[in-house]
């Protein structure tokens, strides 16, 4: 395992989350490790995204959809009673208030517009918690595209509500019965399916993982979280930027989007992983699902199954840019247990009247623990991205509480 170098300056060179280096690299990570049959499709996505992202018309269309359909901008909510109890000033970036209930919609609207621009008629997606699947089904319905969503059988059981939502939105939900029957296997199956469908389908990757250009493109589509929050913090905070910026990390898309708004500031970036899915904190160098990054592996190099109460964090790896930020020391990656996350969810519900997704509750659990343990000095300002709402998790919580 690589050791992160000591943190010798606040914002190390290459840690400001600009574009990737040549060949889709973030430091040593990233790249485009795909079967030859997908190489051309990735190149087409890359070319189309570069053109679209430089096109003011495309940007304007996306901004409009984010406003009129997804409900952006989302508010920055001061968590008053939590702050008082913790002795820090905690602000929540409310991605749970977007249409479909999580940050996933930001990326999906971008990719769906891109798919239309590329002349594709169908979106393919993988989903863990179902949030990305629901967002994909939503965007497909909105733009007149078809949607095929791959979802692990185990996740289908624990996220029945989202499965119903996707089907109601007209998407086809394909159960994945191989391996751990969770997000990792759904991603493999979506890639297999894409190999045979590149001509008319766009693979709408849900996180900052996958082959180049996905880690970069998805981060750019999620950057809106960080940019809005940056402006809101500037208006709200005397210091302009928070001392800490915290987000949960599965593949790492809400964290990447949040961090991107603050990477060039003095804010300390903290990514919170699930104890049983800590790719950034405990993974080692590998290649999976098209990119070189950090993955949980056994002594032979086989990928280890992740385990988390939060289906969206149940992924054995992490996006390549997070691996790079870790090596640079620009961001820290920490872990939280299932129990800590569940407790944090209940605490937020009772203190602030907000039921968070179990994924987002991981970020909060770290804030609670760090404030209690003195790692967060009293009076620190903390921006935490509340990536999604908790409706989907009530049956999981019911069993636990």
């Amino acid at each position: 395992m690589r050791e992160a170098p000591p943190r010798h300056r606040l914002v190390p060179l290459g840690g400001t989350m600009d574009g990737p280096l040549a060949r889709g690299r973030f430091g040593d990570y990233g790249g485009r490790y795909v079967p030859e049959s997908l190489a051309e499709a990735c190149r087409e996505v890359d070319e189309a995204f570069r053109e679209a992202w430089a096109d003011p018309g495309f940007r304007a269309a996306l901004v409009r959809l984010l406003a009129v359909h997804a409900g952006r901008p989302t508010p920055l909510t001061p968590a008053e009673r939590m702050s008082e109890a913790l002795g820090v000033r905690l602000y929540l970036k409310r991605e749970d208030l977007t249409h479909t209930g999580s940050h996933k919609i930001n990326n999906v609207l971008g990719q769906a517009l891109l798919a239309v621009r590329m002349g594709r008629r169908r979106l393919i997606a993988e989903t863990g918690a179902g949030q990305h699947g629901v967002a994909t089904a939503t965007a497909a319905a909105l733009l007149g595209l078809e949607a095929t969503v791959f979802m692990g059988e185990r996740d289908i059981e624990r996220q029945a509500l989202n499965v119903f939502r996707m089907r109601m939105l007209g998407a086809e939900v394909v159960p994945v019965t191989t391996g751990s029957r969770t997000l990792k296997d759904a991603t493999s199956e979506a890639m297999r399916h894409w190999v045979g469908a590149t001509a008319d389908s766009h693979y709408c990757v849900g996180s900052v993982i996958g082959p180049d250009p996905y880690p970069w493109m998805v981060r750019e589509f999620q950057r809106v979280i960080g940019e809005e929050a940056r402006g809101q913090c500037a208006a709200e905070l005397r210091t302009g930027v928070p001392d800490y910026v915290v987000a949960c990390v599965g593949g790492g898309s809400n964290a990447a989007g949040t961090f991107a708004g603050f990477a060039d500031t003095s804010a300390r970036l903290v990514g919170v992983e699930a104890e049983g899915g800590a790719g950034a904190a405990r993974g080692r160098l590998g290649v999976l699902h098209g990119c070189r990054s950090l993955f949980l592996q056994d002594g032979d190099g086989q990928i280890v199954q992740a385990h988390s109460i939060a289906a969206g964090l149940d992924y054995p790896g992490v996006g390549p840019e997070h691996a790079h930020l870790r090596d640079l020391g620009r961001a820290r990656y920490v872990t939280v247990t299932d129990e800590e996350a569940a407790e944090a969810a209940v605490r937020l519900a009772r203190a602030e009247g907000i039921v968070p997704a179990l994924e987002s509750a991981h970020a909060l659990a770290w804030v609670i623990g760090a404030a209690r343990g003195g790692e967060l000095p009293a009076g620190s300002t903390v921006l935490m991205t509340l990536s999604g709402r908790g409706d989907k998790d009530v049956s999981t919580l019911k069993e636990l509480l």
């Binding site: 079967p35 191989t178 190999v195 086989q302």
Partner: protein
Amino acid sequence: MTDATVTAGAVEGHLRARRDTGRGLLMPYVTGGITPGWTDYLRAFADAGADAIEVGLPFSDPTLDGVTIQQASDIALARGASPRRILADLSRLPDLGVPLVVSTYYNLVLHDGPEVFCAALRQAGVGGLIVPDLPVHEAEELTGAAEAAGVEPALLASPATPEPRLAEIARRSRGFVYAVSLMGTTGERAALADSAAELTERIRRVTDRPVLLGFGISTPDQAREARRHADGVVVGAAVMRRVLDGAGPDDLRAFLTSLRRALDQECDRPR
């Protein structure tokens, strides 16, 4: 050195020599560690007239494989198969008279690093390597290490590969060029895809290296048809489905003999 005949290694030399006699090449596949006596399959393959044998090192997440090889990989892993054990089994084999080619995903190559991995292949008597999730633009890290170890990495070409890239694949491939017959995963198909003929013809225009056609070739008829376009065939899922259904080495010898016969009957040399 771009002249293929100068850089040809042992695998390529062997395949070229056999091809040049007019023989259609046959490379059957087996998932390493699939049964306790799995190397008996290799002997059966050689007896049945294989020209090279592909041995899969099973990976937990075989993203380019269909259900048959996924299932075979899961079973082998559950039996405790690992690259180290499979290579140890191979190193105990007597010389079968045909080159061994390992196929696996890049994560397993990267685990100990390409240098160590390729050296271990060489030590186990493996001459060739196929890594389906390592496309030509990412292959440099491996090809250098492979060359140093004397292992020939064969690259894959797909029906979606555009022209200048196809030439680069053919140029940088060693041993042979692996032509992926269709846009899809591994697995048996009812018929040979139309894209197979077109792709192999395109590859032939840019290289003299042996071209093996794989993905979906499951029957003697399909092998015969493939032979009209390519120098030979790779047969994986059709073998592994039989193994999963309980077929032993003798059953596989009979199946491969039927493919051998089909290839031998098809004497229409494409060039």
